[in-house]
Symmetry: C2
Subunit: 325 residues, 2 copies
């Protein structure tokens, strides 16, 4: 028996944002149709090393695509020159259970998250959106802007980061795919003067104030992915129309987890899961004045769908290393 | 970054039963000490293909060994020449989260299960046990007898299987490590005339009757690993002293799951987890006349402990294929 090993460089060369968007949109649609299986993420905690390991099995029934992502978060890794997050994705045949491919999935994770933001903004942001505000200018911010650039005629990007050097580095990289005006700042408030706001920080306190957000803004809240994390003031989630990727995950670990734990937001006040909007079960934006928030926690079905897109392309192009099992 | 790929042949050449027993005993001991993390197995069901995919993350805190096994069960695979069960094991550094090694884990799964049976029998069977009865003569039966051969002076093995050809093939293979008298039969009752009985069938009805079991017998009940599976008559679990590997898994999917669902056995009547006996928290066998049952469901900590034993040996011997992540 053989399986295909794809290292990060293979995945980087094979996975385009267009592929990622197509895969993630299909995954969200199937989620909306109830045609998926996604057991809860399980966590192992390495308390003494300030890290954890997350296991994310998922199955898209309609596409017959199954797999498991294994991903760590070790916040002290950069001190020793390692990435905070490293991911592997195993794809399995639903028909025989055999492993088909194993791939480095760190880049894929960032791409499928950018794709999720793009799909959500296309559903929820005003179509005329021209100004994008970024809170946080790290790796995730790059793929978020890349995703948005596929659907919006962006004229102006306001990049805020606690480090102006990081903001500069972001502009340099982002100009490769999005050439327009860039405004760099260390003040989050400046970035909020936009049509689409993207937050990608690891914050545990609200860095975006309710009063800074104009009517009609759409917010992609990407950073919060664990209990206690929060980027937006709790009142903002109360005031806005909130759409999540998966209600169970979001309540537990998404942007809404803190407002819910504070009793500011009730779970039943969450408007919809994104798949319910894509499948037409619930409306998206219904006025130019609404504030909409997409709370992205990151789903195993996004990884598996994007992973199969990579695997197919690898088979077509002969890329990767065959391993004997 | 590099990680080590070990194919099944590598694992077969590296993993001895002595290694597996040492690893599994340590895993059970740590389980008894409460020094492990083992989120519940999660299942994806491929209903239309009569298969499933199980994800088993585990962490031995004391050994700093973490990993995830991904294993399928597709009962119709043999029709197309594929194994029913195929497993992969990913080992991760607890310190950095980085994947260290990926290995084929089908052989490892069978070996760690044989090791569990051996460790349990050493705790629970009479030390003078000489006669082993086997119900089922498949792959799992081989590693069970191999494990027992490390601790007992076996003089006689009674092998029962619905296919006498399978029993013959078992004897041929088993003689390589256990040379003694073999008795082959298609009658389960014959095999029950023994000191240690080992059941390794995929049965969903009790094939071993209570009245066939002599006082003093120890039974390793290996086959039942999913809801509805059962090899021993429910009354037998009521009458005997029952020891499980993990109470939560056993109640859900072990040999005791059917007796409990029938209200014949109460969960609180389960005597102990094997780790509680290894750590001296609870007594094992206390008379020559007791019937003892070890209900093995198979734990992620067994896989991870055995996997690290393989990984270390691979590093020492230079075996395996380095992959760039």
């Amino acid at each position: 028996m053989q399986l295909l090993w794809l290292e990060e460089e293979d995945v980087i060369s094979l996975l385009t944002m267009d592929d990622a968007i197509a895969a993630v949109e299909k995954a969200f649609f199937d989620h909306g149709m109830g045609q998926i299986q996604m057991p809860p993420k399980s966590y192992i905690n390495f308390t003494k090393y300030e890290g954890d390991l997350r296991t994310m099995p998922a199955y898209l029934e309609g596409q017959d695509q199954a797999g498991v992502k294994i991903v760590n978060v070790h916040t002290r890794n950069p001190e020793i020159g390692l990435p905070t997050v490293m991911a592997l994705l195993v794809l399995n045949s639903s028909k025989t259970g055999a492993p088909l491919s194993i791939m480095g999935a760190t880049y894929l994770t960032s791409m499928r998250t950018g794709a999720a933001g793009a799909v959500a903004a296309r559903c929820l942001a005003r179509a005329s959106s021209k100004v994008v505000g970024m809170v946080g200018a790290g790796v995730q911010a790059r793929t978020q802007l890349l995703g948005l650039s596929k659907f919006f005629k962006i004229e102006h990007v306001i990049v805020s980061d606690t480090s102006i050097e990081r903001a500069k580095s972001f502009e340099k990289d982002a100009r490769a795919f999005q050439n327009c005006d860039y405004q760099l700042t260390t003040d989050v408030k400046d970035a909020c003067n936009c049509d689409i706001l993207v937050t990608t920080t690891p914050s545990r306190r609200a860095v975006v104030k309710e009063s800074w957000i104009k009517p009609g803004t759409h917010i992609n809240a990407i950073g919060a992915d664990a209990k206690g994390k929060q980027e937006l003031e709790s009142n903002l989630t109360k005031k806005a129309k909130v759409i999540v990727d998966d209600i169970a995950q979001a309540v537990h670990s998404g942007e809404v987890n803190v407002p819910i734990s504070e009793w500011v937001l009730k779970p039943e006040e969450i408007h919809a899961q994104i798949g319910e909007i894509l499948t037409g079960k619930k409306p998206g934006r219904i006025s130019e004045m609404e504030i909409t928030i997409f709370d992205s926690t990151g789903l195993g079905i996004q990884d598996v769908a994007a992973g199969f897109a990579v695997y197919r392309k690898a088979l077509e192009t002969g890329r990767g290393t065959k391993l004997i099992l």
